[in-house]
């Protein structure tokens, strides 16, 4: 006897349920968490270090570092900056998922953290599909990557709350049409909060830091 069974279930439903658990755990400890995504070399770690430098006086921070290989270069840099950091080695996987982040969260003392920065694996495709349970998704797009990224990787621009345009100190040397880039972003994610910065010089960080601080304080009320 043959029978058709309707299911209609999102394929990554189980990941989404785990992400929801992570979210609850973070909320219970009043931790505001951000998921930082970007392609390899866009400057994620430098961006996080610059953010830490600007916030470490006023907030207690923690970092989860995702990497595809068991190297601790990024985690070492963070630890050197005096922050609790947990390294996740994805064993070649191209993205973090909610399960990995859940295990990493359990290694941190959440009562001692106000803001958790999760550095995702450098990739513009896969991380977009996997919810982690964080409160805001941040995408870093850097000037030398080119102005066509929203057109080529539309998916990752859809589910983000903040866009960071990084390495703006290189604008004089690179053919990057800011209008063209921003138009592509606007088509995919209208009114997206965008900050243009240089993680190297610290230019443009005031507004980003102010936005972030406001959100962290909001999470604690």
């Amino acid at each position: 006897m043959k029978q058709r069974v309707e299911i209609v279930k999102r394929i990554l439903d189980s990941n989404e349920q785990l992400a929801e658990q992570n979210r609850k755990k973070l909320d219970n400890h009043q931790v505001f968490a951000i998921n930082v995504m970007a392609s390899p070399g866009a400057g994620k770690t430098t961006f996080i270090l610059q953010t830490i430098a600007k916030l470490s006086q006023s907030l207690r921070l923690g970092v989860i570092e995702g990497d595809t290989a068991p190297v601790t270069i990024d985690a070492d840099k963070i630890t050197a900056a005096g922050m609790p950091a947990v390294q996740i080695n994805t064993g070649g996987d191209c993205h973090l998922d909610a399960n990995m982040v859940g295990l990493a969260i359990d290694q941190l003392d959440l009562d001692e953290i106000d803001l958790l920065l999760i550095e995702n694996v450098g990739n513009l495709i896969c991380p977009a599909g996997f919810a982690l349970g964080n409160h805001a998704n941040i995408l870093i797009s850097s000037v030398p990557e080119g102005d066509d990224k929203p057109y080529k990787y539309p998916n990752i621009y859809r589910n983000i709350d903040v866009l960071i345009i990084n390495k703006i100190d290189l604008l004089p040397y690179v053919d990057f049409r800011m209008d063209y880039f921003r138009e592509g972003v606007e088509m995919l994610n209208p009114g997206l909060k965008t900050f243009a910065v240089s993680s190297k010089t610290g230019e443009g960080f005031e507004n980003w830091i102010a936005w972030l601080q406001e959100r962290v304080v909001g999470a604690q009320e």
């Binding site: 069974v5 299911i7 394929i11 599909g129 138009e183 209208p190």
Partner: protein, 124 residues
Amino acid sequence: MHELAVTESLLAIVVQSAKENRAQKVTDITLSIGALSSIIDDSVQFYWNHISKGTVAEKATLHFNRIPATMLCLDCSTEFTLEDDLIPCPNCDSINLNIIAGEEFQVDSIEIEKEEENNNETKS
């Protein structure tokens, strides 16, 4: 890219549903995959053939219902489908758009074989 993880999740959903419906065998699986979801059919099928071995859904055929990316212009109400590139409204050139389809990523249904509930009916 992440098709292995996706295919594993798919298998878990199918096996669970087969169990709930006391299926002996899953023969067909229908999926809706939006063009914007960055999933490659062939790759999912490839992983499926490997990881479904020994399960109730071994050798099930995957049917991909590919949904094109469809945009709605919020200024002139033109609906248009994206072929390859992201483009402004072809009618009025506006970038004030809404994505109304193309982000689907779900299992729609499965077809299963069940044991006859009453063996006497199999005489014919």
